[in-house]
Symmetry: C2
Subunit: 252 residues, 2 copies
């Protein structure tokens, strides 16, 4: 699949931001400054959808990655941003909101409809993006996944062996099917959990962490609510990638 | 209470190790190299008892602290090392071993007898040590507690307001009384949990972490069994102290 570069701008002097299309999926690619022979490992940034609204937070994460020599990329999710709405997804979101508003437990079937079709549509798009981005000059080596949308991270890691390490933010509803698939995941994982995230069940996150088959997995739980991940936790996540994807970097 | 320096040696060229007596309690003090006007915050190192056997691991932790400008000190526990045995403690240890050997749950009363009298004897010794060590030239500022013996860390933090931050290693049995006191703890905490430590109940550690009243608390769970804390987890703990005790350091 071809990648089209729609526009590019330099941010901070040493980070190049490119708006891209991978097939018909909009995305953003951030490239660190490299010496001409250098090659930056790629980190795919997971997010809740809506690239424009997410841009400031994604840019901050891309900047942090670039400090360690990593490129970052974010793809628009199916049904979000400028992409066509998905009526079934909208219905599942309405069900979730209604359950939370009514103070009722969210039905497993609602979580399944909310997460699984979206993940199954996004996984092949992520794989195609890794295919295309691997051919971009200056990009190469192992690939990391970093983000919320933890179910996408799990299924992508199982579907694409180029994903060599993942930082997973446990801040979303997790279908039972994902927990059942987790023992098959064996890559190094660093799981971020906001302990006082009132909208997401903590026990489900702990159960998923426990289920992962990875011999090297770490859980970093902090306070501050859903969006209050403290800066030091972001730095730890960056060091995790430097440890696990940095070998290619140093060899480059 | 006076502190006697029994002997001293320089290790690694820039770390001074002193064998000391605080009253009649043996201890070890490690001092980093300082400029003459400098003042090192102190980290009290918790450990399972037996200073001689623990020396290599304690020295490694003191070395890591010295990298960030911290002094470290370890006191022999009541009933351990060269100190007189405590028959009630030995009996509780035998009960614990017998329960584990028989594959039976360890009774709450056994955990209480194993932990609480020891903690209650050790807390005033730690306070006296902080009194004495604060008067040592080159030492000063806030004090940290770092170690297993998590119940000692909790009760010491509640008993001595000079303890400004603590790294707690959740790798020991935790009496219910300690969990009940935990909401009163408000200092910044960094809790290390070995997720696959088969000898210590994980849920008790999670319950204790949840109970702490500290607005800033983090849980770092890793794989590797009871003694297999990975090096990056030690580095994270060191950075926690640098964030929370380092102000005095930078001002010195």
């Amino acid at each position: 699949m071809t990648i089209q570069i729609l526009s590019e701008r330099r941010v901070d002097g040493d980070l190049l931001e490119r708006s891209v299309l991978v097939g018909d999926v909009p995305g953003i690619l951030w490239m660190p400054s490299l010496d001409p022979a250098g090659s930056a490992p790629l980190i795919l940034l997971g997010h809740p959808g809506g690239l424009d609204a997410q841009h400031p937070r994604l840019l901050a994460r891309a900047r942090r990655g670039a400090q360690d020599g990593f490129a970052s990329a974010a793809l628009e999710l199916p049904g979000s941003g400028a992409r066509p709405r998905l009526p079934a997804l909208e219905e599942a979101r309405a069900e979730l909101r209604a359950s939370i508003h009514a103070g009722e437990p969210v039905a497993d079937a609602t979580v399944d409809r909310l997460v699984l079709p979206l993940v199954d549509a996004a996984v092949p798009e992520c794989i195609a993006a890794v295919d295309s981005l691997s051919a971009v000059p200056g990009l190469g080596g192992p690939v990391g996944y970093s983000g919320g949308n933890i179910s996408l991270g799990v299924r992508l890691a199982l579907a694409d062996q180029r994903i060599a390490a993942a930082v997973l933010f446990a801040g979303s509803r997790i279908p039972r099917a994902i927990v059942e698939e987790a023992p098959a995941v064996h890559i190094p994982l660093h799981v971020l959990l906001q302990w006082d995230d009132i909208d997401n069940p903590r026990q489900a996150a702990l159960d998923l962490f426990d289920a992962f088959g990875s011999p090297e997995k770490s859980l970093a739980a902090n306070m501050g609510g859903h969006t209050g991940v403290p800066p030091h936790a972001g730095d730890e996540a960056a060091r995790f990638f430097a440890r696990h994807l940095g070998g290619a970097l140093r060899a480059a």
